[in-house]
Amino acid sequence: MSDANNATTAPNSALAAERAEDEYTGPMLAADGTPLKRSLNRALRRQKISALLLIAPLLIFVLVTFIAPIADMLFRSVENQIVQDTLPRTTTELKNWDSEGGELPDQTVYKSLYQDIYVAQERKLHTRLGSRLNYELTGASSLFRKSGRGVDDIGEVYQDQFEDLNAFWKKGENWNDVLGSDAWLAAMNDWKKASGDAQPPFEMRDGIADILPQTADYYSIFADFVQNEDEDNLYKEDPWPLIYSAFYDDLTGPTAEQVATYAGPGATELAEAAAAAPSFATVDYMDAFADIDKDWVELPIWQTIATYSPKFTNGYFLNAVDMQKTPDGPALRPEDERIYWTLFKRTLFMSVCITLSCILLGYPIGWILANLPARTANLLMILVLLPFWTSLLVRTSAWKVMLQQQGVINDTLVWLGVVADDSRLALINNQTGTIIAMTHILLPFMILPLYSVMKTVPPSYLRAAKSLGATNWTAFWRVYFPQSVPGIGAGSILVFILSIGYYITPEIVGGRTGTFISNRIAYHISSSLNWGLAAALGAILLAVVLGLYYAYDKIVGIDNVKLGG
């Protein structure tokens, strides 16, 4: 028994080595006395560095063009800063409002809303917020558009009264004189627009923020906007109506008494305005907004704004699973508004169908290819790969020609008398069409791994099984099939993951009932521009795929997947 002999001699030599090692108990040392581990690491470091350098270009490319955009896109599924950024004052005020109390917010909220929307409409940001809130509340988009046009009128009430009181308040330069610092005014005088130099940035007069706090606040926003966004001469621009309303608030508010301490330019006009202001006609902001649109005095828009005030939201994700935020927490949408759950189910179901049909059609081909002589197999392999050389769009469009009601297949069936002319089969623009076309397109991804795995199963296994008494079927099922399972696994993973995210083919042949979740994602990316929802749907899709992959690993074992070899 030389086997046994070998087995006994090997442990003996190992034992001897162990004994020699026993005498020295510390770590193994290299010839020069450094610990063996360290010198090994040093020897390997060069290899590691060169390996890293070799993959570095691809790694950077992938990080920049793949990982980063995906991370950014996924971040959009929870990001929600637009509400807070566009309506900073309103969202702060709304924190104190009880959204479930059934009462409208108070005047201060409406006033903040006026201020926010005014600034936003000057910057043309209100429509974007409208579109964002429209995802949650239909009509919000037009409401904000309308309000953007309407807010001009609100401030004009005060503007007119101040201007009637004294024409001094009409002119932008007078406002600059009162609010701007002397140094800035001097710099402004020296500046010529034609010179091409940058306009001196607006500087607040010392102490004016104590006297006219809100006016100073909004004026600096105004100045910033004129100078930096419109790039106009601040001296020639008349202030926004919003400034007049703030001015009125300052003159009648708690800092009114401070006005007397002002002694700069226009002090007399300011004193006059301070005296007159208390008797001005005032604006009821709530009524003003009610005039713009009745929706402003209803609860839903306020609840929506309050719900979406935080910087981050799970709203997109709730939306993606057919739920919505309500004052009582997340709840399912009404039955007729649920689409995504159906789409996810349909996508999974159809992907499974496509994968199964690919296995059924691909397995025999893989078998034939693996068992033919190399020359013939190569020729057939070219036929299998032929679809890869044709544009995806061409192939899909070809299916459209083949499958339509007046198409080749239906014509042939009618001609053969299999179906009646008036009951032609609906093979396209539905699930059948998508499954047929996608099975055809993804088939090579099943055949290739199947072939390369089957190629490694020697024919002698089948012969052995038969010589042991197994019928053809038993030999196949008990011996050959289990060994081809890794190929089925690899092919299935490829086909399933490709099909679950497929877009073009379902878009073209899917019609209304044969589209996938990816078509919806594409719609939100390019048409409805609801990127947050698209990102949430994408994130869920990614999670589903990873989940299935994990389950596959647990059930089948990922080391049971072979692409060949």
């Binding site: 086997d3 020697p458 296994y461 010589s467 042991l468 030999a475 011996v479 289990p482």
Partner: protein, 366 residues
Amino acid sequence: MADTSATNAFVEFERVQKSYDGENLVVKDLNLSMPKGEFLTMLGPSGSGKTTCLMMLAGFETATHGDIRLDGKSINNIPPHKRGIGMVFQNYALFPHMTVAENLSFPLEVRKMGKSDREEKVKIALDRVQMGDFGGRRPAQLSGGQQQRVALARALVFEPELVLMDEPLGALDKQLRETLQFEITHLAHELGITVVYVTHDQTEALTMSDRVAVFENGRIQQLAPPDLLYEEPENSFVAQFIGENNTLEGVVKEIKGGTCLVQLDGGGLIEAKPINVTQAGERTRVSIRPERVEFNKDRMPDGAHTLKAEVLEFVYMGDIFRTRLRVAGTDNFIIKTRNAPDQVRLKPGQQIEIGWLAEDCRALDA
């Protein structure tokens, strides 16, 4: 060719031909008959048709013409799984997704044997090849020799009367091969099974078999027990193929009685035993085994024809000495001498005379 007409034949090939492409015959007119319990080896260079014969017997190839009979019944139309022939493959063909025990249990399962019977038989079969402790392992966890033992056990577990082995030891190292050769023959005789063994290793063929069929070019060149095959090759192919052999070419000068005189092309006249020559004037190839050549004058047989020779090379091989000589125009004449205390060690350049017994020297076909 030997006893084709034997009535007690267990395996019989009758006028079997096989062609793969319709143009060339891989097996040409094969006639062979084996009694039960025989260990027969098909030996031949690759492409000689020996494996094809085995595959036809197993049922994986169909004969183009002729009849193959097993135990008196023609099996031409019986599918492989109904032939009940055990088979051991060159690469073992152990099913990698089953354990050793499952591999052995497989042929019993497809024969619908009960679970307890199966387990018992598997255990006996594994013990028989000293692999009793390895039932739970996967084939990939075994060494080549162990896999071969399991393959052997699997081919025997369903108690076939005929077992075919297709170069089963080809992938093993020399030492292990020799051990297993011994084990296989031992097992075959112990169980009384009939074995058809295919190999291209002549040592294996000679040491294991009851009879050896030497294949060349689709034909059996000689079918004989190992000793006859080695000592009395019937043609020059067999003489060349089996063991080491010296050949000298020449023309038959005269045939009388049991001997003939051959005039060598390279000069010299020798006496030989006529095997494939019938008349004077025929070309012939004279064959003589290296160990039957004598150069020691004291031991030279009486009346032996001698030839002059020059020593070209002396190789010390341990148990024997191998000396290359220039004889009658050929540089490749080998003699082998046993390493004994009184043995002469020849030196290159030395001139000697060599001779042999006429009956050790066979005049074969040219």
